[in-house]
C-alpha cells in the first residue's frame, strides 16, 4: 500500500526531520504512529497524503507518487488532519459539494455514522463544537470508502462516549483491502485497536513491529525487585513495571506507554532484539 525508500524530508534543507527513512505499510492493518512532540508524526502523514514534498528518496502510495496529487489517488485517500478548516455551510451542502470527488462514496453509511455520532444533518458546520466537527469529518472520511485512511490525533476533542463509538467504528472499518494509519498521543484510547506500532524518534523509525511480534520478543510485567535481565523499568505501586526479554514464551499484554518509554530510553538494548 505504502512504500517509503530512503526518504529525506525537512522544512529546511539544513535541518532534516527524516533522514534516510524506509518502511512498508500494507493493507489489512491498523498502524499506530507514535513519537514525541516534534518527532515528525504529522509531517510523515502529510508526506503520505501529498501535502508536503520530500527533499529526496521515494514514496509510493498504491503505486502513485502522492506529491503529484493525481485525482485517482486522492479519491482513495481519506486524511483526517489534527487541525482542519470547515466552510460556513450546512452539512448536507458540504456533502453535496465534496462527496462527488469520491467514486465509491457511501451515502447510506454516512447517515449511519452521523446518527451513531449524534450529528444532525441540518447543522451548520461552523456552529458545531470542535468534537462534533471532528466526528463529522471522520464520518465523511470513512464514507468515502478510501483504501488508505490516515488520521492525525483522531480522538482529540472527542468526549468519553464518542471515543468508544470511534473504536467501534474503526474496528468495523478495517477490511482486508484497507490500510489505516493513526497517529496519537492518547495511546490508552487506541491500544487494543492498533495491531502494529510504528515509533518515530531521532529522524528515523525506531521501531516498527506488530503487537504479536513485540509480545513474542518482550514481556511486560510487574517485578518486586530488578535484576540484570530487565531492559527498562519504571517504579510502580508494588515494585516496578518492567520490560524484559521474553525468555519463557510468556503471553503478556503489551503496555504501550511502557514500550514507548523503553524505546526512547533503551534504543541500543532493543535494536538487536527487533532486527
Amino acid at each position: 500500500m505504502i512504500t517509503i525508500n530512503n526518504l529525506n524530508f525537512g522544512y529546511s534543507k539544513h535541518n532534516l526531520l527524516f533522514k534516510d527513512m524506509s518502511m512498508q505499510l500494507s493493507a489489512g492493518h491498523i498502524y499506530g504512529l507514535l513519537g514525541k512532540n516534534g518527532a515528525g508524526k504529522s509531517s510523515l502523514l502529510k508526506n503520505i497524503a501529498g501535502l508536503v514534498y520530500a527533499q529526496s528518496g521515494s514514496l509510493k502510495v498504491m503505486g502513485f507518487d502522492p506529491a503529484k496529487r493525481e485525482p485517482e489517488l486522492l479519491a482513495d485517500i481519506c486524511f483526517i488532519p489534527e487541525e482542519f478548516y470547515l466552510p460556513s455551510i450546512k452539512i448536507d451542502a458540504y456533502i453535496k459539494a465534496n462527496a462527488p470527488f469520491y467514486k465509491k462514496f457511501d451515502y447510506a453509511y454516512l447517515n449511519v455514522l452521523l446518527e451513531e455520532f449524534n450529528i444532525p444533518i441540518s447543522n451548520k458546520l461552523v456552529n458545531m463544537s470542535y468534537g462534533q466537527k471532528k466526528k463529522f469529518i471522520i464520518a465523511f472520511g470513512l464514507a468515502t470508502q478510501a483504501k488508505l485512511v490516515i488520521m492525525d490525533e483522531p480522538t482529540n476533542g472527542l468526549d468519553i462516549p464518542s471515543k468508544a463509538q470511534f473504536r467501534k467504528v474503526m474496528a468495523s472499518a478495517l477490511t482486508d483491502d484497507r490500510c489505516i494509519v493513526i497517529s496519537t498521543h492518547q495511546v490508552r484510547d487506541l491500544d487494543n485497536l492498533i495491531d502494529t506500532v510504528i515509533m518515530l524518534d531521532e529522524s528515523t523509525i525506531s521501531l516498527k513491529a506488530s503487537i504479536e511480534e513485540i509480545t513474542q520478543k518482550l514481556t511486560f510485567k510487574k517485578m518486586k525487585e530488578l535484576d540484570e535481565t530487565v531492559i527498562y523499568a519504571e517504579p510502580a505501586l508494588s515494585g516496578y513495571n518492567v520490560v524484559v526479554p521474553n525468555f519463557h514464551q510468556e503471553d503478556s499484554k503489551m503496555d504501550i506507554e511502557l514500550l514507548f518509554n523503553a524505546v526512547i530510553a533503551e534504543k541500543k538494548k532493543l535494536k538487536p532484539i527487533f532486527n
Binding site: 489489512g28 492493518h29 491498523i30 468508544a164 473504536r167 467501534k168 474496528a171 468495523s172 478495517l174 487494543n192 485497536l193 492498533i194 495491531d195 503487537i211 504479536e212 509480545t215 511486560f220 510485567k221 510487574k222 503471553d251 503478556s252 499484554k253 503489551m254
Partner: protein, 125 residues
C-alpha cells in the same frame, strides 16, 4: 468487557468466548459472532479476534467452516474444560498457593470454605 492488566488481549477474548459457551449463552454447534461483529462489540482490532478464533480452533473449541464462519464444536464444553484447566493449573494456582503459604491457610479451613461457596453459589433452592 473490562480488560485486565496483565494477560494478552487475544487470550482474554478467548476466555470471554469460552465463558459464553460454558454458561450456555452460546450453544454447541451454533455459529459464533463473526470476527468483525466481536471486534466491534469489544472495540478491538479484528486481527486480534482472528488470532483468538484461530487459537480456539487449534484447541478444538471452534471449527472453521470456510466461507460461512466459525462454529462451536460439538464437544466444545469438554475441550474448554481441558484447556481452561491447564491454564488455571499453570497460571492461577501458583499465585493462590503462594498466598496460602504466606498467610498460613490450612487445607481444612479451605475445604470448609470451598464447600460453603459451592453450596451458596451453584445450587438453586
Amino acid at each position: 468487557m473490562e480488560f485486565r492488566e496483565n494477560k494478552a488481549i487475544y487470550l482474554q477474548i478467548g476466555d470471554y468466548v469460552c465463558e459464553h459457551i460454558l454458561l450456555g449463552k452460546w450453544k454447541s454447534e451454533d455459529k459464533v459472532p463473526s470476527v468483525r461483529e466481536l471486534a466491534v462489540s469489544l472495540e478491538v482490532n479484528p486481527n486480534t479476534v482472528m488470532r483468538t478464533y484461530e487459537l480456539l480452533q487449534n484447541k478444538n473449541i471452534l471449527s472453521n467452516k470456510r466461507g460461512i464462519g466459525f462454529f462451536i464444536a460439538e464437544d466444545a464444553i469438554k475441550q474448554i474444560k481441558i484447556y481452561s484447566k491447564i491454564q488455571f493449573m499453570d497460571e492461577e494456582l501458583p499465585v493462590f498457593f503462594r498466598n496460602l503459604y504466606l498467610l498460613d491457610i490450612g487445607f481444612d479451613e479451605l475445604e470448609a470454605r470451598y464447600q460453603k461457596f459451592v453450596k451458596e453459589t451453584f445450587t438453586n433452592p
